[in-house]
């Protein structure tokens, strides 16, 4: 009698990567080289504390406060640190501002450099060969995959983060947001708009 494929599946079996990572953690823990509670704390940091809401608050503040925007332009590391967003993969920050003439897009063609302190951990597509290969040669094609079609006359500037500077795109403030609070504005700032693969949302779309 033919086996049903599902007969071979056991819920308690680890797939190869899960087994490999568990083995590595076991060895390092037994040797006292890593503390499993430290791993928990690292994961918790990026699951609950450090993510794109940080960057959204930076952008919203820059939209409502010209002095802050100017500071962000001159010294993004310090301006962002003033909101308590500091640390790993945000040590050296540069903010790049979209204008009606120029749209900015950030990539790391050589690995997966990304401004963790303001955006958290990068999405899979940012780290994967399709994006990393195409962003520098066909950015309009990439933007099309995000349903972002820019006028043919808009200049596209791609920033390949090949060194230790990490780039935060400051999208343009959407029209019709004059009456919104800084908090409401932050809700319009998506992660993708701070990478350059999106725009800030129109009010009512958040």
């Amino acid at each position: 009698m033919p086996h049903n494929h599902d007969d071979h599946h056991h819920d308690n079996e680890l797939d190869p990567m899960a087994a490999r990572v568990r083995a590595l953690e076991t060895i390092l823990t037994q040797k006292g080289l890593v503390d499993p509670l430290a791993i928990d704390a690292i994961v918790e940091t990026y699951e609950t504390k450090v993510g794109p809401r940080n960057g959204a608050k930076v952008v919203a503040k820059a939209w409502v406060d010209p002095e802050y925007a100017d500071w962000l332009k001159r010294d993004a590391t310090e301006a962002i640190a003033s909101l308590s967003y500091t640390g790993r993969q945000g040590e050296h920050m540069q903010a790049v501002f979209n204008t009606p003439d120029t749209h900015n897009l950030v990539v790391c063609t050589l690995c997966s450099c990304y401004p963790w302190s303001v955006l958290g951990l990068p999405p899979v597509w940012y780290k994967s060969p399709p994006y990393r290969s195409k962003a520098v040669i066909d950015p309009r094609g990439v933007l099309g995959e995000f349903d972002l079609i820019l006028p043919a006359t808009t200049n596209i500037r791609v920033w390949d983060s090949t060194a230790e500077l990490r780039y935060l795109v400051v999208p343009m403030r959407p029209a019709g947001t004059e009456g919104l609070s800084e908090g409401q504005l932050a809700d319009l700032v998506t992660r993708d708009s701070m990478i350059g693969t999106g725009l800030a949302l129109a009010p009512g779309a958040a």
Binding site: M17, A18, R20, V21, R22, A23, L24, T26, L28, K31, G32, L33, V34, D35, L37, A38, I39, A41, I42, V43, T45, V50, G51, G87, R88, E91, H92, V107, T109, L110, C111, G120, V124, W125, K127, S128, P129, P130, R132, S133, K134, A135, V136, I137, R140, V142, E145, F146, A152, N155, I156, R157, V158, D160, T162, A163, E164, L165, D192, T197
Partner: protein, 219 residues
């Protein structure tokens, strides 16, 4: 090195395919992979450049068929073995077979917040003044080292313009190989797409890299 990591302008990888409402992790082992990579790095026995070089030194077929957390774990095993913390036999058996290298330090849970908030700044003072200034025309070197470099292939032997003079930074090409930090100024160099990709390139496109001074000469 001209390894699998150097992806700019390569073709044939298919669509970017962003995932709607993508979760932060796609499996629980990815959480542990992230934590292990950071915690093991915090022992202080290798630097970020050596880590990157370990990742890009994976066989291209392995690199391209691995997710990014898989690449991290495979490279982490190589680093741990290289520095005497684990043996191949231990990785095979999945448990410790005895002591290895004594770590400089071990990251404890109570220190995680402070360590992550501090990060690992790579800027360093450089005694000499910068060789280039904003607006200068420069040409990138054309070279193909077997060792680590952060000058991507697509931007080698190209003419561009200095748009910003950055701080001095640790030089990855030597730092990845235990040959010292040798800090140098970093410059943001901008190229028209036509300089990189040819006459048919999008005339509205410019691409910049951040280049260490050693990568540049006056054009």
């Amino acid at each position: 090195m001209n390894g699998p990591q150097d992806l700019g302008g390569q073709m044939g990888f298919g669509p970017v395919a962003p995932e709607k409402d993508e979760p932060l992790f796609h499996a629980d082992w990815e959480r542990r992979a992230l934590g292990l990579t950071i915690a093991a790095g915090a022992m202080g026995h290798w630097n970020i450049d050596e880590s990157r070089h370990a990742r890009e030194s994976l066989h291209p077929a392995d690199y391209y068929s691995s997710t990014y957390y898989e690449i991290w774990i495979k490279a982490l095993e190589i680093l741990l073995e290289r520095h005497g913390f684990v043996s191949v036999q231990e990785l095979k058996e999945g448990h410790s077979l005895g002591k290895g290298t004594e770590p400089k330090r071990v990251l404890k849970a109570e220190n995680v917040a402070a360590v992550l908030a501090k990060g690992g700044p790579c800027d360093r003072p450089v005694a000499a003044p910068p060789r280039f200034k904003v607006g200068d025309r420069v040409r990138t070197h054309n070279f193909s080292p077997q060792t680590h470099t952060r000058l991507p292939r697509y931007a080698r032997g190209k003419s561009g313009r200095i748009e910003a003079v950055r701080d001095g930074f640790v030089f990855p090409d030597t730092n990845a190989h235990g040959k010292g930090e040798n800090p140098q100024y970093v410059y943001t160099v901008v190229f028209p797409a036509t300089e990189i990709w040819g006459d048919e390139a999008d005339p509205t496109l410019t691409v910049s890299i951040d280049a260490w001074e050693n990568y540049l000469e006056p054009a």
